[in-house]
Symmetry: C2
Subunit: 199 residues, 2 copies
DNA sequence: AGTTATACCGCACGATCGTTCGTTCGTATT
DNA sequence: AATACGAACGAACGATCGTGCGGTATAACT
């Protein structure tokens, strides 16, 4: 076999990160452990962390990978829809479907991370805050477009719409999981659609 | 001084638990550490955990104390209101005020605990699930009463109302904290009131 | 063919984890 | 006055945490 190429290195790195995303989804970004992760991957601790330098760098890579999963599952399939209300509707559908899937075995990653770091300053806190803010901005943008098109009442605040959609998805997925309510995500979907004037 | 009375013992125990609630509110129920807690209280680790037996017992006591704080801050002040829509309105107001206060320096305790244990079975998971379920039942009960009084459309599902209120409060408080949005809780309140037909 | 780079390993480190001892000491009961 | 109880302590345990060091084997480059 030829020397480990750059692509292979990347593959090996992403293989670690992807496994770490799955693990962190269950036990949290903070609960992530190099030893546990190394055992799962049949690697040595030093060989694993050597790729990243230290644990925080690994955690940040894991967070970015999780965000990419979310974007690929929720935004990209909906991005092609017409800006405004239709796209919001598509986003909601893919969002619910994403939460229903086992993309993140431990529930919405960004919500878990937010809870873990909302009271703990540092690079991870900032990364998470930036990601949430970016997503809220995307939602708000389409809400504004929808409003301009007359699909939302002129009195509603697009920022409110974005914030409420996110709150419902985030809190609803947690509530549905902890109460083991099979209808939970249906309730979330109903509420989200009602937020943008549909039913 | 007389022998340490039963009341004193209880005080000492609750003093530990109350401090643990504050600490766990920030670093999580799972992140709670006997050493850290003992240091904060200027106690020895053994002297502290001796009151409870083991860590899990302490964690469960902490959870119950947090639930009592929530009940005292949100439910009890609203319990006197007329059942149905008025009481839901009062609950929402106290709920938002509770989230705005620093009763839990690290954000809504039940939400944090739900996220930590929604994918991890055990007594703590069950305790949390039971508490959430109990609270949802209370909300649903008033929603049903409001519906019977004609204050909610007959087509709405009271369970939906309860679930959505909880999702908004839970997810909204996390989102407001991580994005450092001063208007976040106002947006949550607006959405919660809209859920029960008000604005 | 020899050099160089590096991915990975085994191993050990200091720290901290939860827990378990044996002990001390103050108070209440007898 | 003697005894018993229980709260709290200091010390130590085995385990696990993140991290750093030295060695090795492999593959690319000269």
């Amino acid at each position: 076999m030829a020397r480990r190429s750059l692509a292979d290195v990347a593959d090996s790195r992403t293989a670690v990160v992807e496994a770490a995303v799955d693990l962190a989804s269950v036990i949290g970004l903070e609960g992530l452990t190099i030893g546990r992760l190394a055992t799962d991957l049949s690697m040595s601790k030093s060989g694993l962390i050597g790729r990243f330098g230290d644990k925080e760098t690994l955690q940040r890579a894991v967070l970015q990978a999780a965000i990419e999963r979310f974007t690929a599952a929720v935004w990209e399939p909906a991005a092609g829809a017409a800006a405004g209300l239709p796209r919001l509707e598509a986003v909601i559908d893919h969002w619910i479907e994403h939460l229903r899937s086992d993309t993140f075995p431990g529930g919405c990653f960004l919500t878990t991370a937010s809870v873990e770091y909302d009271a703990r300053p540092g690079p991870l806190h900032d990364d998470i805050a930036a990601a949430v803010h970016r997503w809220l901005t995307v939602l708000q943008h389409d809400a504004t477009t929808a409003q301009a098109a007359g699909d939302l009442p002129p009195t509603t605040d697009p920022a409110d719409v974005a914030f409420q959609l996110y709150s419902l998805a985030s809190g609803g997925s947690v509530a549905a999981r902890i109460t083991d309510d099979a209808k939970g995500l249906d309730r979330v979907r109903t509420a989200m659609r009602r937020t943008i004037g549909l039913n």
